[in-house]
């Protein structure tokens, strides 16, 4: 097994920003609605306490969770396969034989581009979703890894 590689630490800031934005603009309206519901059913004080607790938990989760996710994430490029492990609560380790790789995507959103990061998405013939996705790679690392993975293994069979 090749040594586990970690992601670029800057990705934690990207995840934090995404988490905070998701909390404020995605979940906040839901919680405010919930707060109104609780306020009507119970009392305004209970509603305020509930909503504030949820918002605080969410912001803390947005700030702390990316660090844990970063620590849990690792990938290794073996001569025969790409191995990706991830997950804080639900831990996954996926192995993708290199001769099974159908194509590789390098994705960069605007914030990722600003940070010089990219997400490498590896597809096999197995279905609609990508089998392996490695976020938070520096652009240079992502391009190097992409080129390495799509180099065809000699005498390989893609299983299809």
């Amino acid at each position: 097994m090749s040594a586990w590689q970690t992601l670029d630490p800057r990705v934690t800031w990207l995840w934090r920003a995404q988490g905070v934005l998701r909390s404020l603009f995605g979940l906040l309206p839901v919680w405010l609605g919930l707060g109104v519901g609780i306020g009507v059913a119970a009392s305004p004080r209970v509603a305020v306490v509930s909503v504030l607790t949820l918002v605080t938990l969410s912001v803390v989760q947005s700030v702390v969770w990316p660090e844990l996710a970063w620590r849990a994430f690792g990938y290794a490029v073996r001569p025969d396969a790409l191995v990706v492990r991830q997950g804080v609560l639900w831990q996954h380790t996926v192995t993708i034989p290199r001769n099974r790789i159908q194509h590789v995507d390098l994705r960069q959103g605007p914030v990722e581009r600003a940070l010089g990061l990219g997400t490498l998405v590896v597809y096999t013939a197995a279905g609609l979703n990508a089998d392996g996705s490695i976020p938070g790679l520096s652009t240079a690392d992502a391009e190097r890894l992409r080129d390495e993975l799509i180099a065809t293994a000699p005498h390989s069979d893609d299983g299809v």
Partner: protein
């Protein structure tokens, strides 16, 4: 087409779509947008037509968004054929770079609609296995450019396949019939396919809707004592009849054969469907053996390949299916579909980990018990079933259902098992709806080992194995077995 040669577009060989793509793509995009927003359009019409200024602004917005998408698509998409691979870049905010190895391409299509023909252009579609979408879509190329690109991709794919080719066994010299399903078996398939749940849902809805829409009819007939069970029986019977008719139409005259190039199934009453599966293309076989089917001494096989086999908007279905196979003939039939299966019969089944079996019993017990308690405590009184609640207090009901859940879980635990041979992985799960998945290890695309928080406490793992036609998930295993299976499958 030169491999990565510099062009007038870009010194690195990048090329762009023809400018006419702006016209060619605009109308389809507009049509898709209108289709997606039909409720909005309906609301506009209901509000007084398109003459009002606000409505006109909405329509102008729809048109502008289509124009913007088409313009961005044209301005940002570029492609090149370099190092023997097709590379496509697109996107304004989220930039995508796709590299497609020609050896992975399943299908290349050149398509011309009326707009393409008007501009002497063509659309090149590139499909790789297992995707319903298209890996590469170049919507407006000149005919010469598209032909050159297609030829280059095909040459590259052929060269790779020739280099990788390995000798295969001798195919059968002529057609060999493996399985023929009779009329009684086809009808039996329909009976065992019937879903009582669907009938129950229809029954429940009818009980909600009829009193509102036709109160007089409801009061005269269905509200009478004993009418409810009769109606339920009618719906259940209708469900069975529907299922039987469906099976009869779909599987009438079913024959499975081996041909010199692979497998063939022929079936169908009105639409005769002949499916040819080339040798070595079977990715996975699913054996459906529900308790009713087992009671009748049969099982049903679903054969999957890497093809997506679904038109846009349709659900994916199996490439070929064998509606009813007698139990005794399942190994023989499977051996014809997946050579080497018969040998796996000698390999003993391995059970789930002991902790997993306990969990399989406790989870349904807790779930069924809790649901029964909630129903007895809150739902039954609100439905006016206080008599039921009085006859069986919610706590008693909860205990009875929890015991039933534990029993069902115990049966499921007994059925959960797996085994692997040098060529196959076989996973079996479920007692009432027993499904056994058989997949050739040579077809494994990726293997994943997963552990959730509860599983971590119990020391359990699951192994997910994906092939191009589906996946198999192992029962919960202890760490030793899970790691061994993970490694054996390439992990």
């Amino acid at each position: 087409m030169t491999d990565g040669a510099a062009t007038a577009d870009d010194p690195a060989g990048w090329k762009r779509l023809e400018p006419a793509s702006l016209v060619i793509n605009l109308l389809p995009d507009l049509w898709r947008t209108l289709l997606a927003g039909w409720p909005l359009l309906l609301a506009l019409v209901m509000r007084g037509g398109v003459a009002e200024l606000a409505n006109l602004l909405v329509l102008a917005g729809v048109l502008a968004s289509s124009l913007a998408r088409t313009g961005i698509h044209f301005a940002t998409l570029r492609y090149r054929y370099a190092d023997g691979k097709l590379q496509i870049e697109s996107g304004l905010f989220g930039r995508r770079h796709r590299v497609i190895d020609p050896a992975r391409i399943q299908n290349l299509e050149l398509v011309q609609n009326v707009f393409h023909r008007a501009f002497h252009l063509v659309e090149l579609r590139v499909e790789t296995a297992g995707e319903t979408g298209r890996a590469g879509l170049l919507s407006a190329l000149s005919v010469a450019e598209a032909e050159a690109l297609r030829a280059a991709l095909q040459r590259s794919a052929e060269a790779t396949r020739a280099a990788r080719a390995t000798p295969t066994g001798e195919p059968p010299a002529e057609l060999e019939e493996i399985e023929r399903t009779g009329l009684v078996e086809v009808l039996g398939h329909g009976v065992t396919q019937a879903r009582a749940g669907a009938a129950m849902v229809v029954y429940g809805l009818s009980q909600e809707i009829l009193p509102t829409l036709y109160p007089a009819f409801y009061l005269r007939t269905l509200s009478r004592p004993g009418a409810g069970p009769i109606l339920l029986l009618v719906f259940l019977s209708a469900g069975f009849v529907w299922s039987v008719v469906g099976s009869f139409v779909r599987h009438y005259g079913f024959v499975l054969s081996r041909t010199p190039v692979g497998l063939r199934t022929v079936a169908g009453l009105f639409t005769r469907r002949r499916v040819e599966v080339p040798a070595g293309k079977v990715q996975l076989v699913r054996i459906d053996a529900s308790w009713l089917r087992r009671l009748m001494g049969y099982a049903s096989l679903q054969i999957e390949t890497a093809g997506s086999n679904a038109l846009p908007g349709e659900d994916r279905v199996a490439e070929a299916s064998v509606p009813m196979v007698p139990d005794a003939l399942v190994p023989f039939t499977l051996d014809a579909v997946l050579p080497g299966y018969a040998a796996s019969d000698a390999v003993p089944w391995r059970p789930a980990a002991p902790a997993a079996r306990v969990r399989l019993m406790l989870e349904p017990a807790a779930r069924w018990g809790a649901l029964a308690w909630l129903f007895g405590r809150y739902v039954a009184p609100s439905l006016g079933l206080s008599g039921l609640a009085h006859a069986a207090p919610s706590a008693v009901t909860a205990v009875v259902f929890a015991l039933a859940g534990a029993l069902a879980g115990w049966a499921d635990a007994q059925a959960s098992a797996w085994k692997r041979t040098p060529t196959l992985l076989v996973v079996r799960q479920g007692f009432f709806s027993r499904v056994t998945v058989v997949l050739p290890r040579a077809k494994v695309q990726s293997v994943r080992i997963v552990q959730g928080p509860v599983q971590r406490v119990l020391g359990l793992w699951r192994v997910h194995v994906r092939v191009a036609g589906g996946r198999a998930i192992s029962p919960e295993l202890d760490e030793h077995d899970a790691r061994a299976l993970f490694r054996a499958l390439g992990g």
